[in-house]
């Protein structure tokens, strides 16, 4: 699927995780893009829909406690499927971290990245089975 980037941003607008699949963006471009998106999405209320168009992306976002999960996709991507993907991602992390919270992601960013890498490749969702996603991670944990 045409995922362009995945971001996790907290309520204060601080980026906690950012993964891009689009062509390479420079640090400055990313900074601008992130602040634009954060400004746009965080201002919205719970009652408003979870899809925002920005530049040539469509951003599908969902809020879990203090953390916003933002996924930028192509405009013709299935928004609801992406919402489900976000939920799957959260559930997977929940299973791994056992009641995941912002701090888990802060302190174990590489684990979170690992999970995302298992799920998404090159913007396509390649794995949706939670235990399959987590198995290499568990293996890694057991060896170190």
């Amino acid at each position: 699927m045409g995922i362009r980037f995945i971001m996790m941003v907290n309520k204060q607008g601080q980026t906690r995780l950012a993964q891009y699949y689009d062509h390479y963006l420079s640090l400055e471009e990313r900074r601008v893009l992130e602040s634009e998106i954060v400004r746009k999405c965080l201002a919205r209320t719970e009652q408003q829909c979870s899809f925002v168009e920005h530049r040539n992306y469509k951003i599908v976002y969902r809020r879990y406690a203090s953390l916003f999960f933002l996924v930028g996709v192509d405009t013709d991507e299935n928004e609801l499927a992406i919402l489900e993907f976000i939920h799957l991602l959260v559930e997977t992390m929940d299973r791994y971290f056992d009641n995941v919270c912002e701090l888990d992601i802060m302190f174990h960013l590489e684990k979170a990245n690992f999970i995302i890498d298992e799920m998404v490749m090159n913007g396509c969702i390649v794995e949706t089975n939670k235990s399959v996603i987590l198995s290499p991670l568990h293996l890694l944990d057991s060896t170190t």
Partner: protein, 951 residues
């Protein structure tokens, strides 16, 4: 600087320490980070790989979250990457994926490491390498590593194969020739019994097909099987996306998939899959009535849902279907209209877009009314979006949608009075444009302009200045249509005009000059023609543009019979029958003007008024104002000679009939009566550059000279009126109020207030005027959504063209260059061109090889795409397609043989010309790519590729 000591290594901060440090730091985040970076720079030079990798890990943590540059550490990344320990290797790989791009100088150094890891027996090493390749693959990397990726595409380990499929998209993109090597294996993966591999493969094909659907038509049977068999919603959604692209290309395919898709739509409980089905049907299969009906039903469910997400998607689906099947939108009009006041701005915008899609010349009046009511209630931003879309819809193609310009002009006036309106510039442009293009709209235009100008409250709103500017121009230019020019002058000179920016004020003064000239001229002509019937008045230079108003006023026969004579004349060349009525209606108010027309007394009063108001402007610091004020006063000076204050009029005039002044006035009037027409946007191009004129190629130099001058925003219009409104329009509206304090005598203000008490607050003694249009917004507040719904219920309903009582007035159009040409369809980017070219090549090559190697065997599905045009009526068709579609897991040759004979016949029939073309085209590609693809082909030991996957 030497590397860190043992001690430093021992007490190295871990990533966790760093993160804690950032959270607890007291010296400020950026200071802390730069300190940490210093440490990292030191540690990363360590010879100990563990120290190095932890430093790198910290760096790759800081880089994306705190925007720290890490390109300098490229070489260290490579060192970690080659570590034998997985944890360190992974740190290296993550860093590489994050920071490398095609400009990284050491990029080529990783090729070997990647190759080694791709070939590793450890599936996690291979997985890391594939992940990395998916992120950073360049042309070189893709070319060099194609053989490895090809091998992994057939890996027995699911996790590796899955990732290899994921990486293939990037490889194809960078190195299209890889298609020749890998395509067959990729297609084979569509047959995999493992759902994860299938899902990855479908995902890749979905991306590929979205770029160039035609190339993948031959694979339709595979996709069809997935569509029917798969239980995985993720996969189904992707396959639906593929079919949404393929179906429009091949009608038989569409017919085939429409049933399964409807099945899914009915059965599925997943909203995402249902929505994808809806989207596929409305975008690609909308000609199948039953499917469309079902989809519409489902859309309705979405629209009715409480969830804003579903509602948004429902509206989105409607906007996809709107261009082809308007009735779907009309069926759901209540929801759409109600959504205009939704709390979510995204939903509001979507429904506005939808409403604008429905608008046509038959319902533009009603829709504009509804939208305007919404605009009044909306927040400023959305209000202006609404106004903007009304303006652009109505002005599209030179107002092609507007049948009744009187209505439209009134609508523009109404828009101007909306308090939040910020579309001044657009409205200004349209007012002037309509004035120039539509002669029949001028009377209404001037009436509307009058009502804007006369209202002192409007002068307090800076957003309206542009509109007032246009109104003032209209009043001056088309004064002959005015029922009461004296009143216009009063409005143009009212005390609060001092609030206007100078350049717009200059337009006001210029208009005063025009009106004055017109009044004097009419007066003089009246006098000179004495009691002649008014029809005679019309002879002469100005007869054509002479207005009803003017003739009426000019007439010395204010008898009741006048109207009888008058009306037929009007309807002769003017469809505006309400004009005389209107005049009669206002008779009571302007009685004296009607009866007496341009009497000597009124002219003298006019002169006095102008003189009184304009004289103070001679002290103005603005050149534009000063100059125009001088002009006006100069003219008055001249005219004064004709009108010494108290003399008996009659003989005076008769005696001086041909005086200098009247000649002057006549020629001035003639000059002002010259019609200004619209100018083609391409006009400038047709002016030849005179010999010897050197046009500066590079206007950059100009910037340095006049860098601080703001470019005119309305330059589009500037050339149209020659030197008339010109510069004044280019003014910057916000640049402050008139520098000149209001020195106008308070008596003027008092008098104005007396005359137009209607527009003043009863008790206000100071200059505090109410905000423009408070009244209006108040009265509209009580409008309820239901009212609009009811209102639009009729308006949106499809109806026959309304019977307009009057024919559509002529709109002046220029033959060419006026309408913006539709933008040429965009070209696909060359990269995708290249890629699809190769894929088609591969598919065709396959056909050819098929033919040569297995004589007599015919391609089956490959002629689906190419033959689609020719063999629509082919009797063999359905069968052949069926055979293609039915074929699933086992593609035995025996099966093909069964169909051999009919196919062969077919193939000959329809493929002849096609093949000739293909041959010539692909021979090129083949020759070219041979040498390039040689390497990988040999290495892979799979050559020659004889993919029979097409069958």
């Amino acid at each position: 600087m030497s590397g860190p000591s043992i001690m430093e290594t021992l007490f190295q901060r871990t990533l966790e320490d760093l993160i804690k440090g950032i959270r607890l730091q007291l010296i400020g985040e950026s200071a802390f980070i730069s300190k940490a970076m210093e440490e990292i720079r030191k540690e990363i030079k360590s010879t100990d790989l563990q120290t190095k990798s932890i430093a790198l890990q910290k760096l790759s943590y800081l880089s994306p979250l705190h925007f720290v540059d890490m390109s300098w550490a490229a070489f260290h990344c490579i060192e970690c990457m080659s570590s034998p320990r997985f944890a360190q290797k992974r740190i290296g790989y993550v860093a590489v994926s994050q920071s490398f791009n095609e400009h990284t100088p050491v990029l080529l150094l990783i090729t070997n490491q990647l190759r080694k890891d791709l070939g590793s027996v450890n599936e996690f090493d291979a997985g890391l390498a594939l992940d990395c390749l998916a992120n950073i693959a360049t042309v070189d990397l893709a070319r060099d590593l194609t053989p490895e990726v090809f091998t992994l595409l057939g890996s027995s380990k699911v996790s590796v194969r899955k990732k290899a499929i994921g990486v293939i998209l990037r490889v194809f993109e960078k190195y299209p020739d890889a298609v020749r090597v890998c395509f067959k294996r990729l297609v084979e993966n569509l047959d995999s019994p493992d759902s994860r591999i299938l899902s990855a493969a479908v995902g890749v094909f979905c991306e590929l097909a979205s770029r160039d659907p035609r190339s993948y038509l031959p694979l339709a049977p595979e996709f069809y099987r997935v569509l029917v068999d798969s239980k995985n919603n993720w996969v189904l959604i992707k396959v639906l996306k593929i079919f949404a692209k393929l179906a429009p290309l091949e009608s038989r395919l569409a017919k085939r998939v429409v049933e399964p898709i409807c099945d899914h739509m009915r059965r599925t409980g997943a909203k995402s899959l249902m929505f994808e089905c809806i989207r596929t049907v409305v975008s690609s299969l909308s000609e199948y009535e039953s499917a469309l009906k079902l989809a519409v039903l489902k859309i309705r469910e979405l629209l009715m849902d409480e969830d804003p997400n579903l509602k948004y998607l429902g509206l989105h689906a409607l906007s996809i279907v709107a261009p082809k099947h308007l009735w779907v939108v009309l069926e759901n009009k209540e929801v759409v209209i109600k959504s205009l006041s939704d709390s979510d701005s995204n939903i509001k915008f979507e429904s506005l877009r939808l409403v604008m899609a429905v608008v046509s010349e038959s319902n533009v009046v009603e829709i504009s009314r509804v939208l305007l009511n919404y605009a009044l209630k909306s927040d400023p931003e959305f209000c202006n979006v609404i106004l903007g879309s009304i303006l652009s819809a109505c002005s599209r193609n030179v107002y092609e949608m507007v049948m009744d310009f009187d209505w439209y002009v009134l609508l523009l006036g109404e828009m101007s009075r909306i308090p939040q309106c910020q579309k001044g510039e657009d409205i200004e442009n349209q007012l002037i444009d309509i004035g120039m293009r539509v002669r029949d709209a001028r009377p209404e235009l001037i009436r509307m302009a009058r009502s804007l100008l006369i209202d002192p409250a409007l002068l307090g709103n800076p957003f309206l200045y542009r509109i007032l500017c246009a109104a003032a121009w209209v009043c001056g230019e088309y004064v002959e249509y005015s029922t009461n020019p004296f009143e216009l002058v009063e409005a143009l000179l009212q005390p609060r005009t001092s609030l206007l920016p100078p350049l717009i004020r200059a337009v006001y003064l210029q208009s005063v000059l025009k009106v004055l000239t017109f009044c004097i001229h009419s007066y003089l002509r009246n006098k000179s023609s004495g009691l002649f019937p008014f029809t005679d008045n019309l002879e002469g230079v100005v007869s054509e543009s002479m207005s009803k108003g003017k003739t009426q006023e000019a007439s010395d026969l204010p008898t009741p019979a006048q109207d009888d004579v008058f009306n037929p004349r009007i309807s002769d060349d003017n469809p505006y029958e309400d004009l005389p009525l209107e005049n009669n209606g206002e008779d009571s108010k302007f009685d004296s003007f009607e009866k007496n027309g341009f009497t000597r007394e009124s002219i003298v009063n006019l002169l006095n008024l102008i003189e009184l108001a304009v004289k103070p402007l001679l002290g103005s610091l603005e050149v534009e104002i000063l100059e125009r004020a001088q002009n006006v006063l100069g003219l008055i000076e001249l005219i004064r000679q004709e009108f010494p204050d108290q003399l008996s009029p009659r003989k005076e005039i008769l005696a001086k009939e041909e005086s200098e002044v009247s000649k002057l006035i006549r020629s001035m009037n003639d000059a002002f009566c010259e019609e200004l027409g619209p100018v083609s946007v391409t006009a400038q191009d047709r002016v030849r550059v005179p010999e010897g004129l050197v046009l500066e190629e590079n206007l950059k130099e100009l910037d340095t000279i006049c860098g601080d001058i703001q470019p005119s925003t309305s330059s589009f219009f500037a050339p149209r009126y020659g030197e008339r409104i010109e510069e004044s329009l280019a003014s910057d509206l916000q640049n402050g109020e008139d520098s000149e304090p209001s020195r106008e005598s308070t008596s003027l203000l008092i008098e104005h207030r007396k005359r137009h008490g209607l527009y003043y607050l009863p008790s206000s003694a100071s200059n505090d005027y109410p905000l423009a249009n408070d009244l209006r917004s108040g009265e509209n507040d009580r409008d309820e959504t239901e009212d609009f719904v009811r209102l639009t219920a009729q308006s949106l309903a499809p109806k026959k063209k309304p019977n307009y009582s009057k024919p559509r007035p002529v709109v002046v159009k220029l033959d060419e260059g006026e309408v913006t040409l539709s933008v040429a369809s965009k070209k696909p980017s060359s990269k995708y061109d290249l890629l699809s070219g190769v894929i088609q090549d591969v598919l065709q090559e396959t056909n050819l090889m098929d033919k040569s190697s297995r004589k007599g065997k015919e391609k089956v599905s490959s002629d689906v795409p190419q033959g689609s045009k020719e063999n629509v009526q082919d009797p063999e068709d359905p069968r052949r397609e069926k055979s293609g579609l039915r074929k699933s897991k086992h593609r035995s040759h025996g099966k093909e043989r069964k169909h051999k004979d009919p196919d062969q016949v077919d193939g000959k029939k329809d493929g002849k010309s096609e093949r000739a073309r293909e041959k010539s085209s692909h021979r090129h590609g083949r020759k070219k790519t041979r040498q390039r693809a040689e390497g990988p082909l040999n290495v892979s030991a799979q050559t020659p590729v004889i993919p029979d996957f097409l069958l």
